[in-house]
Amino acid sequence: MEITGFERGAVCLLNEDKTMSLSAQIGLSEERVKNMSSRKIEVGECLCGNSAEIGKPLILRNRDEILSFVKKEMKIEEEINFHASFPLLSRGKCQGVLCVSTTKENKPEERILNLIEKVSPFIATAIENAKLYKEKLEFSKTLERIVAERTKELREANIKLKELDRLKSMFIASMSHELRTPLNSIIGFTGVLLQRLAGELNEEQERQLKIVQKSAKHLLELINDIIDISKIESGEIRLSLEDFDLTELVREVCESIRLEAEKKNLKMIENIQEGIIIKSDKRRIKQILNNFVSNAVKFTDKGMVGISLSKEDDRVSISVSDTGPGLMKEDLEKLFEPFNKILIKSRPPKEGTGLGLYISKKIANILGGEISVESEFGKGSKFTLTLPLKGA
């Protein structure tokens, strides 16, 4: 202001709603500043509003010009003899107005006015930048607030989910228990009857009882699988690790399926290494191997089922191969998904829950091992369980 020689000057910013706010001033009366800064100023309320509206400088060089321009509703400061307002245009958009005025009689130099006009776009750019910066700050604050809110919501949702998960596991555990109790009677007494412990049976009775037995066992298998899955998924599965003779266990599994294999005229080829002692969960390994051999016998109609056990360094491999229908490439990855039997197209669906391999793979991982599969469509499949020799 010193350079320009004006004793009054102000910068008003144009708001989005076409009102103006006093942003900076010098030389205005206290009363006027108070009045202007406490509220939004309507465009047209003062002289400078005009240049904001038309986007061009407004220069009123003497009292008469001022008075002729002033409308009734305008409040102008008394005794002004010169008024100049310059729109602050940045990229064609009016950011506000810079106005200067004086009560002095001597006229300001033309070059000063030119200078102000020339610098006004720079001021406008600076204002716009400041606005953008402020917006950016506000935006990042808003973002921070949103992130904090979302984090809180997520945390709460997570707690709820955990609680739901716990309830789900509890529900499944007690539901399964309740479902198994009546099965105890169904499986138990059909077994008693089929063993002729309660007397002779005719052919029809035997056939019907066998259907009851088979269905009940299938139901039991499903319930057991669901319990296993809920245990695996809730991380509740408990391993009981012990040293045991894996060779013996593999032989036991072979024996358990031999009768089934013979019924289907399948040859059983065993290639089992002697005396392998392993530290692992015997019951769980048996569960996986039972799944392998029962699948092999179930899906193979002619040829053979092969079981091999071998040790290499600190790992053991147990493979079960068959000359069954094999699997197409696209079915291989679906094999380990729950309820896989509805997903797999390469072979006709057989009895079973479709959960066995899913559970086996999970358990194998928990035991520190893995399950792999090789298969050629039309030729057969080979499932291999690899386990560490010493514990999970």
Partner: protein, 120 residues
């Protein structure tokens, strides 16, 4: 004739196990509560106790601990009839002093063979 104490509250289960055991030549005594079972264990001699885990008056494993504390029940084989559904039931059964466990539902084809392993 080998004597078996069957501690079990479910009527259908009692009928089933008792039937299977008698058919296979065992002498069966039934107790429907844990207290009754403990009393039998202290007053009579058995070759085996089959203990259900969920009993109306007391946890079956608590009953096993009580029996194990006595001189008489110290060496008798006790087989828990556990439910597969509950995580850790088997481990709990063994640490309570059971000699073994059989899962419910029992397999009527193998049940007798399984318990025979525990009888001296």
């Amino acid at each position: 004739m080998k004597k078996i104490l069957l501690v079990e509250d479910n009527e259908a289960n009692i009928y089933l196990m008792e039937f299977l055991l008698r058919k296979n030549g065992f002498d069966v005594t039934v107790a429907k509560t844990a207290k009754e079972g403990i009393n039998y264990a202290f007053s009579e001699s058995f070759d085996l106790i089959l203990m259900d885990i969920q009993l109306p008056d007391m946890d079956g494993l608590e009953a096993v601990r009580k029996i194990r504390k006595s001189e008489k029940g110290n060496r008798i084989p006790i087989v828990a009839v556990t439910s597969y559904a509950m995580t850790g039931d088997r481990e709990k059964a063994i640490s309570a002093g059971c000699s073994g466990y059989i899962e419910k539902p029992i397999n009527p084809e193998t049940f007798v063979k399984e318990i025979q392993k525990f009888i001296f």
